[in-house]
């Protein structure tokens, strides 16, 4: 018997921001966009120019970001790969993302391959409950299965975030937070770069367009999803799930509706549609006898033709 409790009893750090947040922010390509912006700052003044006295703050801000967000590795072990590759390694280990064998980054033998399946089965379960709530003919709530799944998810997440994962994630959270806050600098974006869009996602898309870096069009939903999943997974890791606790989740309908709408746009799986298209019907009649499945064209032996 596998003792689930012992792995679940591992404590999670306070004030933690979940690696899933880092993942969805990373997928907006903000890191590469900023890389090009900083590169431009260093080598040319034909896109924007900052003057040493009036724009002292902006220059300092960017230079600090440059050294801390795009550093060279200090140790010989670290110099075998870049920080970005280490980040991909984290996503692979925690969530099983980026398993494309053509991508070059250091891999762990053990990784969390079932993350997405379990997560989506939880979402489907919740979606069924949320959209059948108050229904008079069919209640699809199943808190027992939900609590099982949640426990499963919790144990797989907690046991995969070991060694330096927590520090690595905190590093990237801080870096991404800084990059995001640069998008909020009206002086830099509006006056210097001439970007008049409103909202981080729009500014980032415009910035990507300026530097020729593809930024996904659904960036807004990626930011949303990052925040929602961060809360959800943190909660998953911190709660001791039982049937009652799982049933409580069904009450947060608004939270999950927002989460699912962002999820359907980013991950292209629409739980609302899936739930809606379950048509109530009578008991399914299964065929009694073994069904013979035809296997390819039957070859009829032919006698020798004369």
């Amino acid at each position: 018997v596998v003792d689930l409790k012992s792995s679940i009893a591992i404590k999670t750090p306070e004030e933690k921001i979940h690696p899933i947040w880092t993942y969805y922010v990373y997928t907006t390509n903000i890191y590469n966009t900023m890389r090009r912006l900083l590169r431009t700052l260093l080598v040319t003044n034909n896109v924007f120019s900052l003057t040493p006295v009036e724009d002292k703050n902006e220059i300092n801000l960017l230079l600090e970001t440059l050294t801390l967000a795009y550093p060279t590795p200090k140790t010989t072990i670290m110099s075998e790969f870049s920080y970005e590759q280490l980040l991909l390694n984290m996503f692979h280990r925690n969530f099983g993302f980026y398993s494309n064998p053509n991508l070059k980054y250091p891999r762990s033998q053990t990784y969390n391959s079932r993350f997405k399946t379990v997560l989506e089965s939880i979402f489907l379960n919740i979606a069924q409950a949320v959209w059948s709530q108050g229904s008079s003919f069919q209640l699809l709530e199943d808190p027992a299965a939900l609590s099982e799944n949640l426990n499963d998810l919790k144990s797989m997440l907690i046991s995969s975030q070991t060694n330096t994962q927590d520090w690595l994630n905190r590093y990237w959270v801080d870096i991404f937070d800084r990059l995001l806050s640069i998008l909020d600098q009206p002086k830099l974006m509006k006056e210097k770069l001439g970007i008049v869009e409103v909202g981080r996602d729009k500014i980032l898309i415009a910035l990507g367009g300026k530097f020729g870096i593809p930024v996904p069009g659904d960036t807004l939903y990626r930011f949303d999803l990052a925040n929602y999943l961060n809360t959800f997974l943190n909660k998953t890791e911190k709660t001791d799930w039982d049937i009652n606790a799982a049933a409580d989740l069904y009450k947060s309908t608004n939270f999950f509706k927002l989460l699912f709408s962002a999820y359907s746009i980013v991950e292209k799986r629409d739980f609302k549609r899936e739930v809606q298209f379950i048509v109530p019907r009578g008991p399914t009649i299964y065929p009694t006898g073994p069904t013979v499945v035809p296997r390819g064209p039957t070859v009829v032996p032919r006698g020798p033709t004369v």
């Binding site: 306070e14 004030e15 921001i17 703050n57 300092n60 801000l61 600090e64 970001t65 801390l68 550093p71 200090k74 920080y83 520090w167 690595l168 905190r170 590093y171 801080d174 870096i175 937070d177 800084r178 995001l180 806050s181 909020d184 600098q185 925040n227 929602y228 961060n230 809360t231 959800f232 943190n234 909660k235 009652n244 409580d248 989740l249 009450k251 947060s252 309908t253 608004n254 939270f255």
Partner: protein
């Protein structure tokens, strides 16, 4: 009613928020002191020629924070009379002149300190950074010797205090762009930094922050101060008629508050700077130099805690409504749930008026020390004209304690344990047994059976009980956390500090 210690884990409390809450308590204390001092200053002798007109009394009630030239000349008259009396009586004098000068000095000091604290309220992180020292080894809880004393080694505390004072002196010099500061002012400012958000009078709490060994001492001091600030008035308080009676009863009351709030050392040092005669006090000007240097230290506004406060205030009533009363066999809380909800709704509606919420959100949008003073000053504000003495303000018959309630709610929101039961218990006591019996239909016998903690389980941060959609609240908390962090990261120089404090600098 005993307060249950729900969360004694100091590590979980956001330290900057803690600094803010404690500074806030000191701020409210000073307000008491100002009210009490100015009240005592304008007390006259019986059958005296010097009379304070009602017009002036009203003016002082409306704004006790500023002395007009008319008021000062009135004060001069009063002082001269006292002084004359003292000289006349010679050896047997009551020392009324001296006590008058003492009050006047303290009045000016209180006003100054309130201005100093208002800067901290807008930017608590700055103070936190000044009070924190980063050293290789942490202060360990016990002494090395075998003779355990249950106390931290004094030498160690002194050593850290010296270390920190050195650091702060350097910081002061950088803030004033390396121009030399007057030695007196520098010393005073060091004491200021040590005394704010510290009730121990020896800057012990700031140094031993996050140490479990000193947590309960700290808690006890805080509870004592809270008791004095937000105490429950006694029913049979006799109204004080003559000025003499008031002078006797209120004497030492505010001095005690100085002591309790940990500002005593600071007050003594400041009063040593001021000459002890009437014109010397009135014309004293070192305070403005002090404020200039202090303002240079706090040039940025970073109202992260005020943002949290404004996020919390509108949620309070909802939390009470969502909190689920468990019905158990031993207490019949569920029976009176509706009545108790009425009580708390009435309280919140009176206390957190839209005007006050708007004022606070204005403060978080336009954070400045001045706006801070406007929002959190004046216990008397929004009160009927005609109530003159602080005693009367606390009198049970005059039930409008809404301003006091507002200040308490602000503190409660940001305290380490914003348990719903704590606030409800306080409100229950404030309303008084008679009122609750009459207006809310719970008889006095039944009242004693009500346990606030089982009536409204849960806290502002997270609610216990199964009726609540907790994840929405978690999401709001997360969002606030991101916002706080981003507001820090918008400034150059902050990224490195954040990375350092997260302990991830080893990566780079």
């Amino acid at each position: 009613m005993s307060t249950i210690e729900v969360n004694s884990n100091v590590q979980e409390i956001n330290p900057v928020q803690r600094v803010w809450a404690k500074t806030f308590l000191q701020f409210v204390t000073l307000d008491y002191c100002i009210q009490s001092e100015i009240e005592r200053l304008f007390l006259t002798l019986e059958n005296s020629d010097v009379v304070v007109l009602d017009d002036m009394k009203n003016e002082i009630r409306n704004n006790p924070y500023k002395l007009t030239s008319k008021m000062i000349s009135k004060l001069e008259e009063i002082y001269n009379e006292f002084d004359g009396l003292d000289t006349f009586l010679g050896e047997d004098s009551l020392g009324m002149g001296d006590s008058f000068l003492n009050d006047l000095t303290n009045y000016y000091i209180s006003i100054l300190l309130q201005q100093i604290l208002s800067q901290v309220l807008v930017n608590p992180r700055k103070l936190y950074e000044m009070q924190t020292i980063e050293t290789e080894e942490e202060i360990k809880s016990a002494s090395d010797s075998f003779g355990t004393t249950n106390k931290i080694d004094d030498d160690l505390v002194t050593y850290y205090r010296d270390l920190r004072n050195e650091k702060n002196k350097e910081m002061l010099e950088t803030a004033t762009e390396n121009s030399p500061i007057d030695g007196e002012i520098e010393e005073i400012l060091i004491t200021v930094i040590n005394s704010i958000a510290d009730f121990s009078n020896t800057s012990e709490e700031n140094i031993l922050r996050n140490l479990k060994a000193s947590y309960f001492d700290e808690k006890e001091r805080e509870n004592r101060l809270l008791y004095h600030l937000f105490q429950i008035p006694k029913t049979n308080d006799e109204t004080l008629e003559t000025d003499e009676e008031i002078r006797e009863t209120t004497s030492d009351k505010y001095e005690e508050l100085f002591e309790k709030s940990g500002l005593n050392t600071l007050k003594t040092e400041l009063s040593n700077l001021i000459p002890f005669d009437f014109y010397g006090i009135i014309n004293f000007d070192i305070f403005s130099d002090l404020m200039t240097v202090w303002n240079q230290l706090f040039q940025e506004n970073d109202p992260e805690v005020i943002n949290t406060l404004i996020g919390n205030l509108p949620k309070i009533l909802e939390k009470f409504l969502l909190s689920k009363t468990e019905s158990t066999s031993c207490c019949e809380d569920i029976k009176y749930r509706h009545n108790c909800l009425l009580i708390i709704t009435d309280f919140i509606q009176k206390t957190l008026t839209p005007l006050r919420i708007e004022e606070t959100s204005h403060l978080s949008q336009y954070p400045s020390a001045y706006n801070c003073l406007v929002s959190f000053r004046s216990l008397r504000a929004f009160k009927n004209i005609g109530e003159w003495h602080l005693n009367e303000y606390l009198n049970i018959e005059k039930r409008d304690r809404s301003r006091l309630g507002f200040l308490y709610v602000c503190y409660w929101c940001l305290s380490p344990q914003p348990e719903l039961g704590i606030l409800f218990g306080k409100v229950f006591d404030w309303f008084g047994k008679k009122i609750i019996d009459k207006n809310y239909g719970i008889s006095e016998d039944e009242q004693s059976k009500i346990n606030p903690f089982s009536m409204f389980p849960g806290s502002l941060e997270r609610s216990i009980g199964s009726s609540v959609s907790v994840i929405d609240m978690d999401y709001e908390t997360d969002k606030r956390r991101f916002k706080n962090k981003e507001s820090r990261l918008q400034k150059p120089g902050e990224l490195e500090k954040v990375l350092n404090s997260d302990g991830v600098r080893w990566l780079i």
